[in-house]
């Protein structure tokens, strides 16, 4: 009898493991994409952009507006219905581009005036927080504070989930998880190519290394700061949209937790390191997924526990360096 149970137990544990692994990779890659927005800005300016979570939120709302277009019952746009709807991939792309533009606006409003005045970097913190506050409240003003969920058929004809049975247990792979992972990998590949193999990427790395030398070498530092913020906003918008489709948009403040977890990701990975950020995101995502269900309430603390422990034990994180280097 005992021998009979054993292999079954193993398979069941393996199935649980597989499910958790898939969940973890999925959410981990979103964390990574989001946190890369922080990493890019930190590499170039050495500061943390606290408005990043607002861009994340904005991206989600924008994609929702373009793909679904039906607003709720509170806010100025209550009951409003956008006359057209775009397919999900297009909405995602446009939403991300608009988020990128927002990133540039954030730079213009919150960071550039401070750089012009050679201000204390603490002020950039307050300034970007101010921008976040404004942005989130504008969203609330327009779209209200209710929950927005993407309809199940938002991906068109693709099935919402694939299920396969292993030894009497079911492993579910939600379509959105596949999409998240696929989009993340594509984005990452493009980013790696951009940073390592293009002239723009080289210039970005130069600026990250040393702004004054770069400008002496004829690189238009301001323009590259702009590109960085666009890219950062783009990533934030994508991450927000992916989370929005996966878990729904729980109101304009749903980005705050992600914003904070993103900080844990970059500290774990090493601030300013692109591969570090990716590892950090995956590690935190996987750890959260493997928290036993009895303790699921403590999932939220995982990222912060990592943050605290890393800071106390090894502040530079896994791959900490202060510039974007060859990935």
């Amino acid at each position: 009898m005992q021998e009979d149970n054993f292999p079954c137990q193993d398979i069941m544990t393996a199935v649980d493991f597989l499910q958790n692994f898939l969940n973890g990779i999925s959410i981990g890659s979103v964390y990574a994409i989001f946190a890369l927005g922080y990493t890019l800005v930190f590499s170039i300016l050495g500061i943390i952009n606290f408005a990043h979570s607002a861009v994340f939120t904005l991206g989600a709302y924008l994609t929702y507006s373009l793909a679904v277009g039906q607003f709720g019952i509170s806010g100025i746009l209550a009951g409003f219905r956008i006359p057209f709807q775009l397919s999900f991939p297009i909405s995602l792309l446009i939403g991300a581009v608009l988020s990128g533009i927002t990133g540039v606006l954030v730079e213009r409003c919150a960071f550039r005036p401070l750089r012009a005045r050679d201000a204390d970097s603490l002020m950039a913190l307050v300034s970007s927080l101010g921008v976040a506050l404004v942005a989130v409240n504008v969203i609330q003003y327009l779209a209200g504070s209710e929950i927005y969920s993407f309809p199940a058929d938002v991906y068109g004809d693709i099935r919402p989930a694939i299920m396969f049975h292993v030894a009497g247990k079911v492993v579910v792979i939600r379509t959105v998880q596949v999409i998240i992972f696929a989009v993340s990998m594509v984005i990452l590949a493009i980013l790696v190519y951009l940073i390592n193999f293009t002239r723009i990427g080289k210039a970005l790395r130069a600026v990250a290394e040393n702004t004054s030398t770069s400008s002496l070498l004829g690189i238009n530092v301001d323009r590259f700061i702009l590109y960085t913020f666009f890219l950062s906003g783009f990533l934030g918008g994508i991450a927000g949209s992916l989370v929005g489709t996966s878990f729904g948009i729980a109101g304009p403040y749903f980005g705050v937790t992600y914003g904070l977890k993103g900080l844990a990701v970059i500290v774990l990975g090493g601030m300013g390191s692109v591969p570090g950020t990716v590892f950090g995101g995956l590690i935190i995502g996987l750890t959260e997924a493997f928290v036993p269900s009895d303790y699921s309430a403590y999932k939220e603390a995982v990222a912060f526990a990592f943050l605290l422990i890393v800071l106390l034990v090894r502040p530079q994180g896994l791959l900490g360096q202060s510039q974007i280097h060859k990935v």
């Binding site: 201000a119 002020m123 913190l125 307050v126 927080l129 404004v134 912060f304 943050l307 605290l308």
Partner: protein, 303 residues
Amino acid sequence: MEDFLQNNGFLLVTLTQQALLAISLYYPLMTGQLSVASPGFYAVGGYIAAIMGTIDFFAPWRAVLGWAIFPLEWLIAGLVSAVLAVLVGIPALRLRGIYLALATIAFVEILRVLCLNMEITGGAIGIFGVPQMFENRWSYIWVFGPLLIIMLLFTWRLEQTRVGRAFKAVREDEMAADCMGVNPTYFKVMAFVIGAVLAGVVGAMSAPFLNTWNARQGTFDASIAYLAYVLIGGSRSMWGPVMGAILLAALPEILRPLKDARLIINGLVLIIASIYLPQGIVGALQRLRIFMIRRVSSMSGGS
């Protein structure tokens, strides 16, 4: 007068309370430490008061001590905060700048999640029906007010003494202070503990004031708010946090007629003030004073 107090008493007490919390953040900043840990200690202090005020275990204490249970709550909150601050502070204060800020953010978040999930703290619902110290809200000024005055006096005196100079030296240049005989870690921890104790005591006073207490009392949002008070008000003088708190905490109330737009305006104020008032309001006032003095002396010199 009665009407004014009725309508605005809650606001005035809140402003005083916020000023105190701003000062709790100012202390670590006096040694150059950007710590946003205050909301964590505030939450702990409040829970201590709420728990001591409501659960059965303490019922005999409440019966024996009567009103005196409140000062006891403050004392215990202060002690617990001090111990927690030393435990957290000593390892964390080896970090500099933004790393320390992040560590304190993590601390606050972990505490929040713990409080959200423990039975003794009432889980997500929190603790209700915390016994009141006074009959009406306005009377709480008699605890927050004196505490604020005591803290202002304490801080004013501190800045004139050897320990205050040590704080400032560590803030200006930690390495140079070290080489001049000042133990930076000792004073950083001291400042951190003072801020923590203050936040804890204010929390213990606030739980009866607010009547309920839950995990929303100690959040990252609160950290941002207190940080804004100090930076906007001016981080180089004790009046900065006070003025910053009074202005920024009153702002949403003043803007109440604008309803939804008020938080937007709050955000705009933060952006504009951080750009145009790098030394905060107090710094700007000081520059204005110097400017006026020069103006007056040049005018009288000219004529």
